[in-house]
């Protein structure tokens, strides 16, 4: 019994650490974008390196959690759901890492008029990922609170979608960029940022189903 509690605490700690890392990665991503827009090259390069390290930590933790879940004689159905949840959460950190690297490689040139909107979209993305963290925590500890967070995720995701559309309209119709290749490149970056909140919403939908399955 004591051994079970120890394992249960260990597993819970690992999941908590995993969520912390994802939250840190999203915070760093916001700073990367801000530094990039402010042209603080050194700072954003350093932060992207941090994101890569954290992402690797998240991968290690993901593996450890998977092994622990298999070692446990948990209910198969619950184990399957947690494994899929952890994998999906790891997708978020993968997406952020990939987008950050693309900034480093492609160095897209965003017109100054779009900077505020891009900063805002990043702020909302962080809020969205944070709510996803709270929703996941609720799933493990206070399942009856999960819907509050899920509805916030939906709210942020919707607002990000609207901003994404506004920025893309500006890029293609606003006469601020003439080159089609640049237009497509910038649109691609905005979509990549927006994809993070789309993924968060997809995971939150899954969480809603998982919690219904375990309803009392």
């Amino acid at each position: 019994m004591n051994s079970f509690f120890k394992k249960s605490v260990d597993l819970n700690l690992k999941i908590e650490n995993f969520l912390e890392i994802i939250s840190d990665i999203s915070l760093l991503f916001d700073q990367v974008i801000n530094d990039y827009l402010d042209e603080n090259t050194e700072k954003y390069e350093e932060k992207i390196k941090k994101i890569i390290i954290l992402e690797s930590d998240a991968d290690t933790l993901e593996r450890e959690i998977k092994i622990m879940l298999y070692k446990y004689t948990l209910v198969p159905n619950l184990r399957g759901d947690i494994l899929s949840l952890v994998k999906d959460l790891d997708n978020i950190s993968d997406m952020i890492e990939e987008t950050s690297k693309e900034f480093l490689i492609q160095k897209p040139k965003f017109p100054k008029v779009l900077h505020n909107q891009i900063r805002k979209i990043c702020d909302e993305t962080i809020k969205c990922v944070d709510e996803l963290r709270y929703a996941t925590r609720s799933f493990f500890n206070e399942v009856h609170l999960i819907n509050d967070h899920i509805s916030k995720i939906k709210f942020y995701e919707h607002s990000i979608d609207e901003m994404e559309d506004e920025i893309n309209t500006e890029i293609f119709n606003g006469q601020i960029i003439n080159d089609l290749a640049t237009k497509i490149q910038l649109e691609n970056f905005i979509t990549k940022i927006g994809n993070v909140s789309d993924e968060a919403q997809r995971i939150s939908d899954k969480l809603a189903i998982f919690s219904i399955k375990r309803e009392v």
Partner: protein
């Protein structure tokens, strides 16, 4: 003695069928959702069914004895056989069936054939339990469901711990359910033989078993055999269809159904209630399947569901008439054949 064993085979067959079918009501949800392994569930069930049957089986069985005191072995054989055939045929055809109701119909059939008066007050008492059983199960389920929600919110227990405790509780509640099933339903299996058979008392593990208890031990073993040999299939097919519910709900369903079976079986509880001037329930074998349906409906009501599955309730009500009536007719006809074709004294 060997001859006696031959006559109780119908009861043993009924016991086997009860074990095969009703085990799913206790551990079906836990096993089909892989929370508990079948081997563990079957072992616990077998042990506790036998303990329940031997220790607390006489209460519910006694009431059946009052409904019809079958004094001849061949009569008891036919009564149990008719009930067993009705249960088997109806189960095979997917009709709602309860062993308790089949045996009551069978006994009344024997009363008609032997021209013995059926005690109306006892019959009414038994009939009232058919309604009371799912009703009480629903009430228990509502109370347990509300308490469970309150406790989980208060305790803020982590998901892994919660599942650990649910699994542990399901093992305990399932064992209690098996004990209650043995205590309550052994009357169906062996109740009709108690007046017709006399066994020598035997000693098992410093425990002296009288004639009735020896009979109940054999019945308990037959039920356990049904659990071990056939219930897995029932749990994975029938059990799954009835109970696609979450593990906490499975726990509430098992606990409320077990409590109902226990209430209708425990003599000591009845004595306690009567001595404290509290209302008590008649000790009668009841249907674990109907207790289970009552519990599921109770949870639905507690969650505020407005769309109760009336078809399921309708099915139960049809079973209340169809099962005892078929058993009554079959028992009457079979007794006629036993007496006139096989020249056996049936009363």
């Amino acid at each position: 003695m060997n001859f006696q064993i031959l006559f109780i085979t119908s009861g043993l067959f009924l016991g086997w069928s009860l074990g095969a079918n009703d085990a799913a009501n206790i551990f079906g949800a836990a096993v089909s959702s892989k929370i508990i392994r079948f081997k563990i569930a079957a072992t616990l069930m077998s042990i506790f069914i036998i303990i329940g049957a031997v220790i607390s089986g006489s209460g519910a069985s006694h009431t059946l004895g009052k409904l019809g005191a079958i004094s001849q072995m061949s009569g008891a054989f036919i009564v149990a056989l008719s009930a067993a055939i009705v249960v088997t045929v109806m189960t095979k055809n997917g009709l709602p069936v309860s062993t308790s109701q089949a045996i009551v119909g069978s006994i009344v059939g024997w009363n008609f054939f032997s021209k013995q008066p059926t005690q109306i007050d006892i019959l009414l008492k038994i009939l009232s339990t058919w309604f009371l059983c799912p009703f009480l199960a629903a009430i228990f389920a509502i109370i347990l469901h509300k308490s469970f929600i309150f406790l989980t919110r208060k305790m803020k227990m982590n998901l892994f711990r919660r599942y650990y405790y649910i699994r542990l509780s399901l093992l305990i509640a399932g064992s209690f359910g098996a004990y209650s099933l043995g205590a309550n339903n052994i009357g169906n299996v062996m109740g009709v033989f108690t007046n017709a058979f006399q066994f020598e008392p035997i000693n098992i593990l410093m425990l002296q078993l009288d004639s009735t208890q020896v009979l109940f031990l054999l019945g308990g073993i037959a039920i356990a055999f049904g659990v071990i040999t056939y219930s897995k299939r029932v749990m994975y097919t029938v059990g799954n269809q009835i109970l696609e519910i979450s593990p906490p709900m499975a726990l509430i369903v098992v606990l409320s159904s077990s409590l109902v079976l226990f209430l209708f079986a425990s003599q000591s509880l009845k004595i306690f209630l009567v001595s404290n001037n509290l209302p008590s329930l008649p000790l009668v074998p009841v249907s674990s399947s109907q207790a289970l349906v009552g519990s599921v409906i109770g949870i639905g009501l507690s969650k505020g569901a407005k769309n109760i599955n009336y078809k399921k309730l309708q099915k139960i009500a049809i079973g209340w008439i169809l099962t005892p009536l078929s058993a009554l007719i079959l028992s009457y006809i079979s007794l006629f054949f036993m007496q006139n074709v096989f020249q056996q004294i049936v009363y």
